[in-house]
């Protein structure tokens, strides 16, 4: 069979890095090609080139046996290449149908006329969407389905998904895989980027691994295994064994009693949550997104007011100020790394010092010391292997995973009493994930208490001492991790009774 899409020696340079270095690969009809690689390996850059967002410095793209120029997303769509972006680009106030009609609908009543077509496509591939629903009400998974339908509506034969599962719950991810299998069966080709090897092994037909912009290997599904892929990606073997040995629990660090709080839309979000968190303990918090996890963490980080109930940190009432909390030893790895965790226009050194810029050695008597910024940053960049062209690069130019590393390096510096970790390994490659897990465990050994919010059950089960499940603002548990089963957690997450 001849290749549907071929990349030949694609090279793309950015100031200070070669993001893609003579990358060649083929995509055949009816297959799922997984694109793997460490943070900053050049995956997003490569698909941006395919979708016409960047132009390669060198190399050729061939579609159906002919060389093509892809100068814009319009060109890409004309050639049958569609992209499902990691962060949806839909208009929130408009309905699904209106969004889908953008750019392709007829000038008059575009949304109505497109309706039947949408339904045919959606049903054909098992994509459940309601064309009349306004987009802002949709879950991340639903938005992603809308993006997929949009690409298909425009006749995509090759569908690119850039880290589609990092924003999805495990259930939503499962649904996505079902859709992907349907699409494959219908002869479409899919390019799939993910850091989660289980997912890759369950869905991909072939895996291509990038390292520092170069293709370092291509494996068929049969040849691929977790250790093999990991080694190709990182260049060394990676340990997947990270069961924690239970540490002796220390004193209580955090006491939460009958906590109630409201969401930003002023709806009750936490309905009487109580738990204790001890020194040396990792408490895992499971739950489908939107069941109060964000609000709970925000209360504990001093970002949301308490409606009723009590929260005590080391026996004292919680001060309602994030800065005071940080001084008391509360580290916060936030859910949103762009809007909250970093200042994208500031450089790496400055972002690493966001918490501490006003104290020595970064500043003395109100005056900043640029030398200290650089020195401290150099240490942290090294410790966390942050891939950045320089310390003066604005953080928005880093790859997704490396932005996350900047936040981790900053928040986990020193010896926090309490670590609020929300999706701490979101978007990280396996090497970095392993490192973050190790650091979290080390910190607990040294006496930190960790509240770990994650949608990755694997991560929760392997790291936590106890696990609680939030459903509609009420907490089930926490239970000792040896005493709960995966199934029970899954049931609680959807409101069932185990």
């Amino acid at each position: 069979m001849s290749a549907l899409l071929e990349l030949k020696n694609i090279t793309k340079r950015f100031p200070g890095v070669v993001a893609n270095d003579k990358v060649s690969l083929e995509v055949y009809p009816g297959e799922v090609l997984a694109l793997l690689g460490e943070n900053g390996a050049g995956k997003s850059t490569l698909v941006s080139i395919l979708y016409g967002l960047y132009r390669p410095d060198e190399g050729e793209i061939w579609v159906e046996g002919r060389p093509v120029r892809i100068a814009s997303p319009m060109d890409a769509l004309r050639l049958g290449i569609g992209l499902v972006p990691q962060h949806p680009t839909l208009v929130g106030r408009h309905t699904v149908a209106e969004n889908l009609a953008l750019g392709i609908g007829s000038p008059l009543w575009p949304a109505q006329r497109i309706g039947p077509l949408v339904e045919r496509i959606a049903q054909g591939y098992g994509l459940q969407i309601d064309p009349r629903a306004p987009v802002f009400q949709l879950s991340p998974g639903e938005k992603q389905r809308v993006e997929i339908v949009r690409a298909l509506l425009r006749g995509a034969k090759v569908l690119i998904l850039d880290e589609p599962t990092s924003v999805l719950t495990p259930q939503e991810a499962e649904a996505l895989f079902r859709v992907m299998r349907e699409l494959r069966a219908a002869g479409k080709s899919l390019i799939f980027i993910s850091h989660k090897l289980e997912e890759v092994l369950s869905i991909a037909d072939r895996c291509t691994v990038l390292r520092r912009g170069r293709v370092v290997g291509s494996l068929l599904r049969e040849e691929a295994s977790k250790p093999r892929l990991a080694e190709l990606m990182v260049g060394r073997s990676v340990s997947f064994e990270r069961k924690r040995q239970s540490a002796a629990l220390g004193e209580v660090v955090l006491e939460v009693d009958g906590l109630r709080a409201r969401s930003s839309r002023n709806l009750p979000a936490l309905q009487g949550v109580s738990f204790r968190l001890h020194r040396g303990e990792i408490l895992g918090l499971a739950g489908v997104a939107g069941n109060g996890q964000s609000e709970l963490v925000e209360v504990l980080a001093g970002l949301r007011s308490i409606e009723a109930g009590a929260v005590r940190l080391l026996g004292q009432p919680l001060p309602p100020s994030p800065a005071r909390l940080f001084d008391l030893g509360v580290a916060h790895i936030p859910e949103d790394r762009i809007q909250m965790g970093t200042v994208p226009s500031m450089n790496v050194a400055e972002n690493l010092a966001l918490r501490t810029f006003d104290r020595p050695p970064w500043a003395r008597g109100g005056l900043l010391n640029p030398r200290a910024f650089e020195e401290e940053a150099r240490r942290q960049v090294q410790a966390y292997a942050i891939a950045t062209p320089s310390l003066r690069t604005p953080s928005r130019l880093l790859s997704g995973g490396n932005i996350q590393k900047v936040i981790l390096a900053r928040e986990l510096a020193g010896q926090p009493q309490l670590i609020l970790a929300v999706h701490p390994t979101y978007g990280l490659d396996i090497g970095a994930t392993e490192q973050v897990h190790r650091v979290l465990l080390e910190k607990t050994q040294q006496g930190s208490a960790v509240l770990l919010v994650s949608e990755d059950l694997e991560e929760l089960l392997s790291l936590s001492d106890r696990i609680g499940v939030l459903y509609r603002g009420a907490l089930q548990g926490p239970f000792a991790v040896e005493e709960v089963s995966r199934e029970a957690i899954g049931l609680w997450m959807t409101g069932g009774v185990a």
């Binding site: 814009s72 970002l303 800065a323 965790g341």
Partner: protein, 358 residues
């Protein structure tokens, strides 16, 4: 991004280099001069001739230089303040009103506060800064307390300030020797800012402006206060996450910005007019022209040292056209408007790279 069907496309640019910023800015200015040249043609003038006149009458002429400097002083003071404000996403477009209020308070001190002579000018300067600061602070307070958009409130406060000046010099502060025009009494000799011999360049104000530009540049990039300002301005979400008191930073910033505009007002009345006069003569739109000055400086207070004289040149040149070519004074507004328009349009080229061909 999108194909325009004629082989032109835009490629997102992650980071515009300083060289690119300079190039694009110069190109925008160049385009503005071409467009305004078209207006000159419509007036039946040869644009090259007009520009030659503008340049030779300003840059090649001692009097012209003085004129540029005189115009640059208020632009410098206001522009530096606005650079900070825009950087922190506080869109103060009421510098005109803040200038007027600074003038009103300074005039009030000069006319009615019996002070020992050496204290009089410093007191006027302080009062003027305070007036501008409070006028701007009011808008900041409205935004913090009631979420009133500062673009609207500062704009509206301009009109209030204008009416206040007119009311004062027409009523309670009306001068004894007024005929025709309205204005207040003249300030005493010791209440006037010294000027360079034979010109109206009140150099102490100029010096103060230069100093403040450098100081604020330092504050912004080398102090913890400046670091805080940048965080608040560049990512309010992160400021909240870090627990930075955004309200306080914003208020402080508004006070600084307004205070600088107030000082500009003091300079105008104590350095040039020596009395409180009608708003349109007192300022001739410095508060608005300074918006361009600040925009051109792109967040760097020290760069205002270059951009203020540039717009000072445009204003001085415009005056010249009015006098020697009999053009309406509004020609200067056209100039400013077209320049601002081209600059804002040129932002596109900082965010995207244009690729020709396919």
């Amino acid at each position: 991004m999108d194909d325009w069907g004629c082989g032109v496309r835009l490629e997102p640019l992650a980071n515009a280099s300083p060289g690119r910023v300079l190039g694009v800015t110069l190109a925008a200015l160049g385009l503005a001069f071409v467009l305004v040249g078209a207006v000159f043609v419509a007036y039946g003038q040869n644009p090259l001739e007009v520009y030659r006149l503008m340049l030779s009458g300003t840059l090649l002429d001692a009097k012209g230089w003085q004129e540029i400097l005189r115009r640059s002083i208020p632009l410098l003071l206001i522009g530096v303040g606005l650079t900070l404000a825009f950087r922190t996403q506080f869109y103060n477009i009421g510098a005109e009103g803040q200038l007027l209020l600074g003038a009103v308070l300074a005039a009030g001190v000069a006319l009615f506060l019996p002070l020992p002579a050496p204290l009089s000018l410093p007191a006027m300067a302080l009062a003027g800064a305070l007036g501008g600061a409070l006028w701007c602070g009011l808008a900041a307070w409205l935004r913090l307390r009631f979420s009133v958009n500062e673009i609207l409130s500062t704009l509206m406060l301009n009109y209030v300030a204008q009416s206040l000046v007119i009311f004062l010099i027409n009523g309670p502060w009306r001068g004894k020797d007024v005929r025709g025009y309205i204005y207040s009494d003249r300030f005493a000799e010791y209440q006037q800012i010294p000027v360079w011999a034979g010109s109206s360049v009140h150099w102490p104000t100029l010096l103060l402006g230069v100093l403040l530009a450098l100081v604020l540049q330092f504050v912004l990039f080398r102090t913890t206060l400046g670091f805080r300002m940048r965080i608040v301005g560049e990512n309010p979400g992160a400021a909240r996450y870090l627990g930075i008191a955004q309200g306080r930073v914003l208020l402080l910033l508004a006070l600084i910005t307004g205070g600088m505009a107030g000082l500009a007002g003091v300079g105008e009345i104590a350095g040039i007019h020596h009395r409180l006069i009608e708003p349109s003569q007192l300022s001739s739109g410095y508060g608005f022209t300074a918006i361009i000055v600040a925009w051109l400086a792109r967040g760097h207070p020290a760069l205002v040292l270059l951009t203020a004289p540039l717009m000072g040149l445009v204003l001085a040149g415009g005056d010249l056209l009015k006098v020697s070519l009999n053009m309406p004074f509004r020609i200067v507004d056209i100039f400013s408007g077209v320049i601002l328009f081209c600059l804002i349009g040129s932002e596109l080229f900082l965010r995207y790279r244009v690729r020709w061909g396919r």
